[in-house]
Symmetry: C2
Subunit: 257 residues, 2 copies
């Protein structure tokens, strides 16, 4: 199973609109960040986590041929605004597309995209979501997802531990202000940790890079990839100064789980 | 006053996800179509009509430095999904951004983006919309907008006649199934007509290219630019076969009003 980063940027992306800072004008493609999202894929299975506002551009760039399911971490606009562009995959499949989200996130999706969820008004040409409320671990093909609820300001987001053929392989925690001990206990020694590393300065709803490193070291993660990055982080410079095995993720990076 | 096309594509854009047709794989940049939107701008004024899902990418490409107002034609996802990316312009201005839409469209925006419209829950870091329900002609700086309600399936969309310094200069009608006579009467001899020219085959909610040409000729429009185009229209080929003064619009095209 491979995991491709569709986006590694914070809510406004990088470059930030109207900004002329050194990161926003950097020629390094790793400093261009669509909003955070990942694609899990092998020859049989194709799953995205979150549909950012950039989803169509991300799916074109990655050449996503089909989608078997979509998982959501939470309902903030930078994680759901691309929902309508699932239409191609829904219509192509000729059936509804399974949507996995915690009940609160699902209720927010149903409100924002009522025309798609309300079967009474839905046009057959529109995306047809098949809601699956997350209440515990669930499997799709060879992948098992264990929900990891983590605090994110006034809400909780659902991170995921991804097990392949019964083995924990990765954890995806793109938006969190902390990782409480009971969650850490579920991802100790995880081979791949992908985690919120917003910026250097504290933020009320996100981890700093230093906090993300502390968590990686505490749980003895293997590879650790920071995501949800702002325009304050110049890839080449900051990546070089991170302690092993921590790195900055970047758009199009592909990992093998 | 200039008008720049931010996007000229139909709801799913061009290329269509997963499609390998000759238009979706065309090397001609005029065959790459973000969702339909235009930017009106001069040294003083900056206004966009609709915020498509591609809004951030469009605003980056056009280098939109500020926004004085946003106008909406209707609330379908391909015209509103980029709303959250107005945040930069709202925060940058340090105040709320005027949003002009007919009352139904405004009610749909308020439902889809309740976190921004509800001042009780809105974070100061989020986009702050200042709703202006459209009930008749209105002016912003040197531009006056006359709403042109036109049928679009089960809803009506609000096209706009754009007058500069009191002179009718352009009409923008990106989504319509017809243009009734009372609306035609308001845009006869308009120097620039921008109008829905979806495709060759009839569609229940959009104009065909032939229908758009008929309207242009009936109202004796000056330049006529077709927009909201699908992946069935190869720019170079179809543009060459259109009757004077009708052309296919394309992303980044800039007109002087």
């Amino acid at each position: 199973m491979d995991l491709t980063f569709l986006g590694t940027g914070t809510s406004q992306g990088v470059p930030l609109l109207t900004c002329t800072c050194r990161v926003c004008t950097s020629p390094d493609p790793r400093d261009r960040r669509f909003r955070s999202s990942v694609w899990l894929h092998d020859k049989d299975l194709s799953i995205v986590i979150d549909t950012s506002p950039d989803f169509r551009s991300q799916a074109l760039r990655a050449s996503i041929p089909k989608l078997d399911a979509v998982l959501y971490t939470h309902s903030h606009a930078d994680h759901i605004a691309g929902f309508d562009d699932l239409r191609t995959y829904s219509v192509k499949n000729g059936n509804c597309i399974p949507i996995y989200a915690d009940p609160f996130t699902l209720s927010r999706l149903e409100k924002a995209f009522d025309y798609a969820f309300d079967l009474k008004v839905r046009s057959p040409a529109y995306v047809c979501p098949e809601p699956h409320p997350i209440t515990g671990p669930f499997s799709i093909g060879s992948a098992t997802f264990t929900p990891l609820p983590v605090p994110h300001g006034s809400i909780s987001t659902t991170g995921f531990r991804i097990d392949i053929a019964g083995q924990p392989r990765a954890a995806y925690l793109p938006d969190c202000a902390a990782v409480p001990t009971p969650i850490r206990d579920q991802i100790r020694h995880i081979p791949i940790l992908i985690i919120d590393g917003l910026r250097e300065e504290p933020h009320p709803t996100h981890l700093t890079i230093a906090q993300a490193i502390e968590i990686s070291q505490d749980i003895r993660a293997g590879q650790t990839w920071l995501t949800h990055l702002t325009h304050q982080t110049l890839h080449a410079e900051r990546d070089a100064s991170l302690p092993t095995p921590v790195h900055l993720a970047y758009d199009t990076l592909r990992l093998t789980l």
